[in-house]
C-alpha cells in the first residue's frame, strides 16, 4: 500500500479556535452541513455573520472530512451567504460577512468531480461576490492555510483580507509536495526558485509583497488565541468595517502591490486601447 | 534557457509587423517588426542551451536563398527542430513582406 495525503491526524484546529472565541457571545445558526459554522453577532455595533469551514470527520463525503472545501461546503456556504443577502435586502445597512479561513485544500475525489465540485465552489464564489456588490462588507481573516480552490470559494472574494502574522498561515495554488511533482522539480528547487519569484513562494512575507493582503495581524498565539489576541483581531475587524465605505465594493485596491506591476500595466494599456 | 543575438547584413525593404507560430513543445513563435537598426537584428530566446552554432547555421541557410530585410526579429523557441525553425522564419518573412510593398 502506498500512503496518500491523509490529513486526519493533522486536521487543523485553528479555525475552530478562532471562530469559537470570536463568536462566543453570538447566536450560532445551524448550517446546512456540519462542516459549516455560522454565527451572527456584532462587531463595534455593526451586524456581522461569521463563517467557518471546519473538519467534519463524519462527513458522508470521505474526501472532505479534514476541513477541505467540497460539494456540501461550497453549496452550504452559498446558502448561508445568500440567506444573509435576502434577509438584509430591505435594510440600508447590510451585515458584514466575516470568513475565518483555515482550509487545507478543495476536496480531491471521484464523487467530487462527478457531482460537479466546480459548480459547488462557483456557488460560494458567486454568493460572496454578490454580497460584496450588494454592500455587505466582506472580510477574510486567514488564521491557517488558504489554499487554491478552497480559498477562491471561501475568502478570496473579500473587500479586505487580513492574515495572522504566523508561519502557519499560508496562501498558495498548490501544496509544495504536489507542486514539485507537477512541475517536475524537487521541493528544494522550488524553494530556490521561490526566493527570486515571490508569487511562487510559500512564506507569508512574499505573499504580502503581492499587495493582496490588507495587513498582517501580530498575535501571541495563532494556535490558541489569548484574550489580548482576540481583542486585537476585533479591533482590526472594527477598523476595517469603519474603513469600508458604501460603494467600496470592488477589488481594485489589491492592485497596488510592489510585485503586481504587470497586473497594473496590463490594465493601463487595455484601457488605452479599449476605445482607440 | 539561452538568449542569443545575431546582427546580420540586410537590405532596406518595406515590411509590416508579422507573427507566426507559438511557444509549444517542438515549435516556436517568430515576430518581425520594422527597424531602423540598418541590419537584421535577430533576438532569440531558446529553451535549448548551447545551441548558438545551430542557430547560426539555420540563419546562414536562409541567407543562402534570400537577402534578409532590415528588421527586428524576435524568436521564442521551445525545442523546435532546425526544419521547423526554418519553416517558421520563412513563414514570418513571407507574411511581413505580404502587402507591405
Amino acid at each position: 500500500m502506498t500512503a496518500f495525503n491523509d490529513n486526519s491526524a493533522t486536521a487543523s484546529q485553528r479555525g475552530r479556535h478562532w471562530f469559537d472565541t470570536l463568536t462566543a457571545e453570538m447566536d450560532c445558526r445551524e448550517g446546512a452541513v456540519p462542516s459549516l459554522r455560522i454565527a451572527d453577532g456584532e462587531i463595534a455595533g455593526r451586524a456581522c455573520r461569521f463563517l467557518l469551514v471546519q473538519a467534519d470527520p463524519d462527513s458522508r463525503y470521505p474526501r472532505a472530512r479534514h476541513g477541505e472545501v467540497g460539494l456540501l461546503e461550497g453549496w452550504g456556504l452559498a446558502e448561508a451567504i445568500d440567506d444573509a443577502i435576502r434577509a438584509d435586502a430591505d435594510t440600508p445597512i447590510r451585515r458584514a460577512l466575516i470568513a475565518i479561513v483555515d482550509v487545507p485544500s478543495q476536496a480531491y475525489g471521484r464523487r467530487e468531480e462527478a457531482l460537479g465540485i466546480h459548480q459547488a465552489l462557483a456557488a460560494a464564489v458567486s454568493a460572496y461576490a454578490r454580497a460584496r456588490l450588494a454592500g455587505h462588507p466582506v472580510i477574510s481573516l486567514l488564521v491557517g492555510k488558504a489554499m487554491s480552490g478552497a480559498f477562491l470559494a471561501h475568502g478570496y472574494q473579500a473587500n479586505r483580507i487580513f492574515a495572522l502574522a504566523d508561519s502557519g498561515v499560508q496562501v498558495h495554488a498548490m501544496g509544495k509536495a504536489a507542486a514539485a511533482r507537477v512541475t517536475l522539480r524537487s521541493e528544494e528547487e522550488l524553494d530556490r526558485l521561490a526566493a527570486d519569484v515571490p508569487p511562487m513562494a510559500y512564506d507569508l512575507e512574499s505573499y504580502a509583497s503581492l499587495g493582496l493582503l490588507e495587513s498582517l495581524v501580530e498575535v501571541e498565539s495563532a494556535d490558541a488565541p489569548s484574550g489580548a489576541d482576540i481583542d486585537r483581531v476585533r479591533t482590526v475587524l472594527a477598523g476595517a468595517l469603519r474603513n469600508i465605505q458604501p460603494g467600496d465594493t470592488g477589488l481594485s485596491r489589491r492592485l497596488d502591490g510592489d510585485n503586481r506591476q504587470a497586473s497594473r500595466r496590463v490594465r493601463e494599456l487595455l484601457r488605452e486601447q479599449w476605445s482607440a | 534557457m539561452d538568449t542569443l543575438n545575431f546582427k546580420r547584413p540586410a537590405r532596406a525593404e518595406a515590411i509590416r509587423p508579422a507573427l507566426v507560430g507559438y511557444v509549444g513543445s517542438g515549435d516556436l513563435e517568430v515576430m518581425i517588426e520594422p527597424s531602423s537598426a540598418g541590419c537584421a537584428d535577430i533576438h532569440i530566446h531558446t529553451s535549448t542551451d548551447g545551441s548558438e552554432a545551430r542557430w547560426r547555421q539555420v540563419i546562414e541557410l536562409i541567407e543562402s536563398v534570400m537577402k534578409l530585410p532590415v528588421m527586428r526579429m524576435d524568436i521564442h523557441d521551445f525545442a523546435a527542430t532546425p526544419g521547423v525553425i526554418r519553416l517558421r522564419i520563412e513563414q514570418a518573412l513571407e507574411l511581413a513582406r505580404e502587402d507591405a510593398a
Binding site: 470521505p62 457531482l115 465540485i117 487554491s148 477562491l152 504587470a262 487595455l270 486601447q273 | -
Partner: protein
Amino acid sequence: MTTRTQTGFIDLSARKRIAALLDEGSMRELLTPFDRLTSPWLERQGIVPQFDDGVVIARGTLDGTAVVVAAIEASFQGGSLGEVGGAKIAGALELALEENRRGNPTAAVLLLETGGVRLQEANLGLAAIAEIQSAIVELRQYQPVIGVITGPVGCFGGMSITAGLCSYLIMTREGRLGLNGPQVIEQEAGVAEYDSRDRALIWGLTGGAQRHTSGLVDAFVEDDVAVVHQSVTACLSLGVPAEHRSDAIATPLARLQQVDTREQIDAASALQILTQGAAK
C-alpha cells in the same frame, strides 16, 4: 442535397478561434503580441515566454452584438493562467462592465482551454482568477457571459469555478470540465479513487456529453466552427438568465445531502443524483 465543409474548432489557435466567431472584419485585438507584455516571472525560471502570454483579447461583434472575447491558448504552458494572461482577462471584463454602465451593452465570450493557475506564477495566477470571477459576477448582471469549452485541454482548476459562474456554457464531446486534474486527484487520493489513465472513466464523468445531460452545461455541440458560432449566437440572444446556475442553490444542496456514499460513484449514478436526486 447540400454539402458543407466542416471546419474543426478544436484545432484552431486562440487567435483564429476568435476570428472564426466574430463577424467578418469586426475583430480588433487588444494588447497584441506586438505590445510585448510577456510574463515577468517565467524567464527567471528558465522558461521561454510567449508574446501574448497565452491569452488573446479582442473586441468585435457577433451577429451584430458587441462582445469582448477572451481566448486562452492551449498550446502555451498547458493554457495555464499567469499574472499577465489573468490580468488581460480580468481587465477586459472590467472594461466591458464599464461599457455596460455607460449604456453600451457589451457581452463577453470566454474560450476556456486551461489547466488553471500557472504554478510558476502561483499566487498571482490565483489572485487573477479571483478577480476574473468577481468581474464575471458583476458583468453578468448586465449582459450574458458565455463560456466555451471544446478541448483539447478542457477547463480545470480555478478556471473551472470561473466556468461555473458563466451565464451559459457550451461544450463539445472532446471538452472536459472539472476542478481537479486526473493526475492530481490520483496523486492526492490514490489510484483506486481516480485512475488518471482510465480515459473512459474520466471522459464518462467529466466530458461534455455527461456535463450536458446532467445539466451542468447548457449546450452540447460538435467540433465545427459554424456550429460553435451558432451556439454562441443562440446563447447571446437568450440574454441574461433569470437565475444563474451558480445561484440556484437549494436543489443541488438538497440532492447532495442525500447521496449514499457507501458505493463508489459512476456516470449513471452521478447523472441520477444531479438530475433527480439520489435513488430512494
